[in-house]
Structure formats: C-alpha cells, structure tokens
C-alpha cells in the first residue's frame, strides 16, 4: 500500500510504481474529473496541482509523488464549485463538450495564483491546454472575469 495526499485527505492505493498519477486518481481513487487525453503531456486534460504547481498527471509516475506533497484535483479545487473561476465559467457558459475543462480550470487556477491580474500574453503562455470544441475565447474571458473577482452576485 502506498498513499497520496489528495484534496486534503490521505488516500491509500495499490499500483505499480510507474503507474501515472492520472490513472491512480481515476482508477484507484475514483476521481474521474481529471481526464485522459493524450498520455504524453501534450493536451493538458489531466492537469492537477501538486503543491500548487500545475502538473500534467498523465506522465508523472505515482512513485515520484511524495506522501507530503499535496495534490489538488478539480473535485477539490473549492467547496461546491465556488472558486471564482468556476463561477465565471458558469456565468459565461464556457464549456461545450466539457471534457478538457477540468484541466483548463486547474491550469487557470494556478495562473491566477501566480499572476492575479494576468495579461493576454500571460494567458497565452500558461493556457496550453487543447480544446477541440474551441472554447478558447470564452476561457480567456472567464479567466479575466475571475481575475476581477468573478461574476457579480446580481448577474
């Protein structure tokens, strides 16, 4: 048995050491909000935070994640989807199929932590997730809305 600190709880699991963190999250821990898209860290659908750093979990062997490192997935980003990004995402109806959106939101959350008022160039640099539906412009608008505090309560 090995263990991981995920979304504030220590979780035990059994997997070969070279198993990517993504598949431990999805198959052993039942956290399917984090998605498999490419398996080569190209698309970003599998993005989670490890000690706050956006990480493509599909190429990260689980054995290299220390028990003391804190993993946050989309399910643990904020209680009841209350993160300013999640509220902005809803306000602007960003998702289409939605499959890439967990990774998008996790990448954006890390960006806002590092740069609370990101420029367009910051957004271009940080947001390298692939969306085949083409939600990019609404993603950009939602990041800016969240940077400004999220949708107004009356909206």
């Amino acid at each position: 048995m090995a263990s991981l600190n995920v979304n504030g709880a220590v979780r035990q699991f059994e997997a070969e050491p070279d198993t990517p963190l993504l598949w431990v999250l999805r198959e052993q821990l039942g956290l399917t909000g984090t998605k498999y898209g490419c398996g080569i860290a190209a698309c970003g659908a599998c993005t989670v935070h490890i000690d706050g750093v956006p990480t493509r979990s599909c190429v990260r062997p689980v054995s290299t994640v220390g028990e003391g490192e804190k993993i946050v997935t989309i399910e643990g980003l904020a209680p009841k989807a209350s993160h300013a990004l999640q509220r902005s995402w809803v306000a602007l109806d960003v998702p289409q199929c939605g499959f890439c959106q967990s990774g998008m939101i996790m990448a954006a959350a890390a960006l806002l932590k590092a740069k609370p008022k990101p420029t367009d160039a910051d957004i271009d640099e940080a947001m390298t997730n692939i969306c085949r539906c083409g939600t990019y412009n609404r993603v950009r608008a939602a990041i800016k809305m969240a940077a400004d505090g999220g949708p107004s309560r009356t909206a």
């Binding site: 198959e27 080569i40 698309c43 995402w89 109806d93 960003v94 199929c97 085949r132 083409g134 990019y136």
Partner: protein, 771 residues
C-alpha cells in the same frame, strides 16, 4: 477480411447513421403512436423512475426490458410495442410533468458540446409554457424508441440537424401537452378551456381568477385523449426559444462531476485496451497471450474479429501496459505499400479522367471553355483529417446469452443499438444502449466500430461489464478520416473578363461509398456536392454561371473515410472560394465586387457576405501590414460568410488577427450558443488549415498523437465577431457550416497580403517568409 464495421443489422429498418444523407425521414409526432405508448410496461421495471437513466449513471440491472423475447423483431411488431415502457406521469413521449412541478423534457439527439440538449428543450418548453427553471432533460434509449415504434424519431446527431430536423415534432410535443394540461384544469373547474390562460406552468381561469399548476393537474391531464392538431407559436412570440438562455449542462462540467463514457464505473467492471492492425485491412497473424498472462491484474487476452487483439485487466492502465508488452504478429494485408504519394497520384489522374459523375450542370461548360477568350485554371488538394475528439473512443458492454447492454458516448443511439445487436449475436430486442455524455463527437461517434469491439470483448467474458478505452495512439491511427480530395477549377472568360464557364472537377474519396454504399445513387455520392447543388438545404451553389459543370471522379483509397464536422463543405468551400479570388485577381476585380456580381440572384448568400463586408469595413483599406480575405457558402441549411484579417511577420509567422463571421440559420433558437458554435467552428477549421494532415506511409496513418497532429491553442485563437442574422422562413444548422469558411477566408487574406496563393493544406507545410 473482417473490418471494423457499424453496418446496420438486417432485422432493423434502415437507419440513418450520420449525415448528408436523408436515409430515413424522422418519424413525425403521431397521436396514433402515442396510443401504443400508453400501454404499461410489462412488469413495470422501468416505470419507477427508470427513464432517468443515461443522464445519471445507470446500472446494468436497471431498465432491462423484459418480455422482449423471440426472434429478431421489427420495430413495428406488436411484441416489441407491447414491451414499450411508459411512466404514468408522461404527458407524451417528449414531456413528463411531476406533482412537484418539475418538468422532464426528453431529448433524442445526443449532446456532444453543440448545445442541442438545451436548444431542443427550449423549443419544447416554449410550446409547453412551463417554468424553464424547473425543466430538466433525459435521454430515452434507442431500445425504448424501437419498442415504441420510433416515437422519438431519429436519434442521429450529425449534419447539424438536431434542431433543423426535429423542431416541428418536438414543438408539437410541447404544445400538445400544454393543451391537455389546460384542458384538465378546465375540466376540474367545469369551464371551457378557452377561458383559461397559462404561463410558467400556472393555469389561470381568466373570468374567475382561479389558478392551479401543471403539477396539480398532470395526473388528470395524462389520462386525456391528446388533441390531433395543435397550432405552433409564431417565432416572434417566443419567450424561451430564441433567447440567450444558459445551457442546462454547464454546472457538472466545471467541478469534475460530469460522467463521460470513459468515466463510467459499474459493479464488477473490468477494463480493456485494444490494438488493431496498424494497416487498414490487415489481420492478426498470431499473438502470445502467455507472455503477459502473469502480469498484475491481467484477466484475459482476447482476439477481436480477425484484425485486433485486446487485453482485459482490472484497471485500464494495467490492460494498456500489458498490451504494449504483448507480442503480436500482423499480416498487413493488401494495402501495406500504399503511401500519401501513391494516393495523390491516383487522385491526380482523376482530375482529367472521363469517368466522372455529374453533380451540377447548366449550359455547356465544356463547349464554352473550348471557345473562351481566356481561361483561368488552378489545382487544389485537401488532406485526411482525424476528428481527434478530446475523449478517445470508448464503450462499456455487458453480455449474457440473454441480453446485451452497452453504455456509450454515441452520436446515434439507434445505429449504436444496431451495432450492438450485430456484434452480440442477439436480436435487437434483447439489446439496448444507454447514452453517456460525449467528450466531443465531430462525426466520429456516429460510426460504431469501437462499440462493436467492446461488445465482441464482453461476449468473451459473459456477465462481466467490460469498459474498452482506446489509447490516443489507437484513436489517431484508426479514425474514420475526413476524405482526401483534389480539385481542378477551370474558368472561361469573355473579352471583358466576365466568367462565362466554370468546370469544377473533384477527384477523390467518397464517404458514402465507405460508410453506407447502399446509399449511393447510381454510383453518385450526393454528399460530395455539399454546397455545390442547384438548390436544397444541403447547400445551394450561389454563383450564377451560365455554363457550369461540377463533377466527381470517385477514387477510394483504403483509408476508411468518415463524416468529419463540416464534411465535404469544408474542402468544397476552400476550392470554390480560393478560386473566386484567383479569378478576381486574374481579371483585376475586387474579390467582394466579383462575388456580389455572381451572387446577384442569391439574396441570402449575398446578405451574409454583405454583413461581414460591412462589419470589417471592406470599403476602407485594411490597416498597414494586414491582409483581408472573404469567403461565403451555404450548407447544412444555413448561409454563412466570413472575413479574416491576418498579418505575417518577417520570419513568416502567420497571425490570424480577427474573424468576422455571419450566419443566417433561418431561426436562431439560442443566439449565445450559436455564437459558441461559430467560434468553435473557427478553432476546428483553423486547426485543420494550419496544422491538420494525416499522412499515409506503408499503408498506415503516420500521426499518432497531438505531438504530430497538433491542434490550435489559445495563443493562436483569433478574435471572432459573430453576426447572427436569422431571416426566418427556414431552419438551418449551426454546428458545422461556418467551419467551411474559416480556411478560405484565411487563405485569401494571406494572398491579399503576401501574393502567395496556397493551394494545398496544411499551412505549416508552407513558408510565408518573404522571398
């Protein structure tokens, strides 16, 4: 040779798979069919909330349609109809009203991001006059549809036809339910129904001011005989439809709770990974199961048809890694020497071949070209594209000798059911498919080779649910590709530079020949001519040329084709709209002026073109260092146009600065979702134009992941200004048509700026560096 197939099993009426083809007209809303539907389900297993299936995570024990025994049963047979499940609170097949005032709206088409779930629900709710805030949706299963005489009509979700082909009968479903609910209230008050009004699910008796609600009268209303004729609202009176309402499915997509096909978990479920022969048409010679049998978690190694091998394990990662370690020997079959070069040579020969099939003609183009004062000619090509849905192909199946159930993200529940029946060896009546949310479709999930594989694997493990997930590499190399074509355009000009003749010769692959050859029309694939037709919803050619010939030399390489979002409209628009610009240049005309001249008799084509020209400011020169390009076309029932502004840096780097796009879909059910579709169309169309090409070497597709088949990213996404301009009187689609104008608008803008005419895509293969 066994190839992945989703062909229709013979015990079913022919079903449409994907689009461009009117294989079956949707079953219209019929009161007669509803009489059948009112029979209670035998044993009642579904009635207890059971229809809320595919939207939540269904369990295999649930919704097992009993009493569906016997041999293969046509949909119309009474045995199947008697097994139809109807919950008692159903007003009709589209509407369920519950005593707590909640409203369930049934949606037969699949949601894959395009917003059809919300749009179709808006149309039902509009006529129902319910409280939109209390509305939710659910999918009926294709098995239920067959058992009820296809009461929900077509499940096919492609060709941008969710709204455009079912708006009439879903609105009638809402209106019929409203009439029955009001009648039930009037009956209770013993007053004429004509004295009652309804708004947001509250019924008011106008003379007395008494009120009641849908929830209170729904039980009585459900017992009434439905009216046979109901009037639909004039769209100008719409309050829910036509509005910028929020999607119904957003919340679950921002917190990870949305269950996609890949995310399904069933009790006792195992996972499978698969490898098919890398060369299409090849076979498995042998594999050494013993070599991986002792790996952790591995349960079984199974053949899938004669062309693939799957490993079944407790987790997918263990299945996948065991498969990677499995020694497999292939027989690559007859196409192992085919390459992109050999395919290109075959298509090139077709440009001048005599065996072409005519799509459109007027006058005598050949004669007019022979006598033209001057000719302009250009040859173009378009490569294979992979759909590259973000969610790879997957399906979960559970097979027993008595029953086969599948859970799958499919664009066509009925075709999925047919594929299930075929692969399971069971009659259709003993199968069903539960639709799960799609992580993208774009046409790929209308063909069900992957679903048949899942059933074939599950059949070798009776009673155990097995989830098959493709690796991205499998997905990239075993697609159903956007067809490959070349095109020769020849225009004849008179002494004044007027276009007197146009010959458009398309040479290349036919989707219909590859997917459902039975739908060829005397050898002609009508989908080839999308946007080039003399008239009709699938794309009227807007330009008036007195001597016109558009024909197709069908050349079908071994790479399997498929319907790829936008379908043939994509390359047809590139060919036509690039060439119009080439003619404009050759005759020293403004590209907009030439288009206006040739579109004078096509007012709807002209209107969208004029709209983008006005918004971009075509009457004034483009800013310094910026090139502008136009494109227009009609397809999927809608009229679209775009203008692109681009710049090119000294090192050749292209920047797409701005897109203005106009669309006239006749009626706009949800303008903010139309804007989302138009924006998304540019991301999809420009991904292909900039980067997309699947090339062939040794009979196989070379690109195997996003590293070699890149997609457009945030940094390359242009600003898109969308003009939604519904002119009324018809219903067009919005998911696809604008893709077609993305590439030609950009190609024309590049030419305007640099003088370089790109005739072969993708752009990444060309240098825009100043010479």
């Amino acid at each position: 040779m066994q190839t992945p197939s989703s062909s229709i099993s013979s015990d079913l009426p022919p079903l449409p798979e994907l689009d461009g083809i009117d294989a079956v007209a949707p079953a219209q809303f019929q009161p007669k069919a509803r009489a059948v539907s009112r029979r209670r389900f035998l044993g009642g297993t579904v009635a207890a909330g059971g229809l809320v299936v595919a939207f939540n995570v269904p369990f295999p024990q649930r919704a097992v349609a009993q009493g569906m025994g016997g041999a293969a049963t046509p949909a119309s047979a009474t045995g199947a109809a008697a097994a139809a499940s109807v919950r008692p609170d159903e007003m009709n097949c589209w509407v369920v009203i519950q005593p707590d005032e909640t409203v369930i709206i049934r949606v037969a088409r699949s949601e894959m991001g395009q917003g059809t779930l919300t749009g179709l629900a808006q149309l039902v709710a509009e006529e129902l006059e319910c409280d939109w805030a209390k509305a939710s949706t659910e999918y009926p299963t294709p098995g239920q549809n067959l058992a009820r005489n296809r009461i929900w009509g077509s499940f096919s979700t492609g060709g941008s036809r969710g709204v455009r082909e079912s708006h009439d009968y879903v609105r009638k479903g809402g209106a019929t339910a409203r009439v029955m609910l009001v009648q039930a209230a009037a009956d209770g008050w013993k007053v004429p129904a004509g004295e009652c009004a309804v708004a947001k699910g509250v019924i008011t008796h106008k003379p007395s001011g008494r009120t009641t609600t849908y929830g209170k009268v729904c039980e009585a209303a459900a017992k009434l005989t439905p009216p046979t004729d109901v009037a639909l609202k004039d769209p100008k009176d719409w309050k829910i439809a036509g509005q910028r309402v929020a999607r119904l499915d957003t919340a679950a997509k921002v917190d990870g709770s949305q269950v996609y096909g890949m995310d399904l978990k069933l009790p006792g479920m195992l996972n499978a990974a698969i490898k098919a022969c890398p060369v299409f048409g090849g076979k498995v010679k042998r594999f050494d199961a013993a070599a991986v049998a002792s790996r952790p978690g591995v349960k079984k190694v199974v053949p899938v048809g004669d062309y693939a091998v799957a490993v079944v394990a407790d987790t997918w990662w263990r299945a996948k890694t065991a498969l990677d370690a499995l020694p497999i020997e292939w027989d690559f079959g007859p196409s192992a020497a085919v390459s992109s070069a050999t395919i290109a040579a075959t298509l090139k020969a077709g440009l001048d071949a005599s065996d072409a099939i005519v799509g459109s003609q007027a006058g005598d183009a050949r004669q007019a070209l022979a006598t033209a004062v001057r000719k302009v000619e250009a040859v173009y090509s378009y490569p294979y594209q992979n759909h590259a849905t973000m969610e790879v192909m997957n399906a979960t199946a559970r097979w027993t000798p008595e029953r086969c159930e599948v859970w799958a993200p499919t664009q066509n529940g009925e075709a999925a059911l047919a594929a299930t029946a075929e692969a399971s060896g069971l009659p259709t009546a003993k199968c069903d498919v539960h639709k799960l949310n799609l992580g993208g479709g774009f046409g790929r999930r209308g063909q069900h080779d992957w679903l048949g594989q899942a059933v074939t694997i599950a059949r070798q493990m009776p009673g155990t649910p097995v989830k098959l997930i493709w690796s991205r590499e499998e997905d990239m190399t075993h697609g159903r590709y956007h067809p490959i074509t070349q095109c020769k355009m020849t225009a004849g000009l008179d002494a004044d530079g007027n276009v007197t003749a146009l010959h458009m010769r398309i040479s290349g692959q036919s989707i219909v020949a590859g997917v459902f050859p039975q739908n060829l029309q005397n050898g002609k694939d009508p989908v080839v001519f999308q946007g080039l037709n003399a008239g009709g919803a699938e794309g009227a050619f807007g330009y008036a040329v007195s001597n016109l010939l558009i024909d197709h030399a069908m050349r079908n390489p071994h790479v399997p084709p498929g319907f790829w979002r936008g379908v043939n409209l994509n390359h047809n628009a590139i060919y036509v709209e690039s060439f119009i610009d080439e003619v404009a240049q050759a005759t020293k005309q403004d590209p907009l002026a030439l288009r206006r001249k040739l579109l004078a008799q096509s007012p709807k084509h002209l209107a969208v073109l004029n709209a983008v020209a006005a918004r971009i400011g075509w009457d004034k020169p483009a800013p310094a260092g910026v090139g502008r390009g136009l494109a227009q076309i009609m397809g999927f029932g809608s009229y679209v146009a775009a203008c692109a502004e681009v710049s090119v840096a000294d090192d050749g780097t292209l920047k797409i600065l701005r897109i203005v796009a106009a669309t006239d879909p006749g009626h706009a059910v949800n303008p903010q979702q139309i804007e989302a579709q138009v924006e998304g169309s540019f991301a999809y169309g420009l991904s292909a134009a900039l980067y997309g090409a699947c090339t062939v070497k040794d009979g196989r597709i070379e690109q195997d992941n996003f590293s070699t088949y890149p997609a457009l990213l945030m940094a390359q996404m242009p600003k898109v200004e969308t003009i939604v301009m519904p002119s009324g009187g018809f219903w067009g689609g919005v998911g696809e048509p604008t893709i077609a104008v993305a590439a030609p608008a950009v190609l024309n803008a590049i030419f305007a700026l640099t003088g370089k005419r790109i005739r072969d895509l993708p752009l990444k293969d060309h240098s825009l560096k100043k010479a």
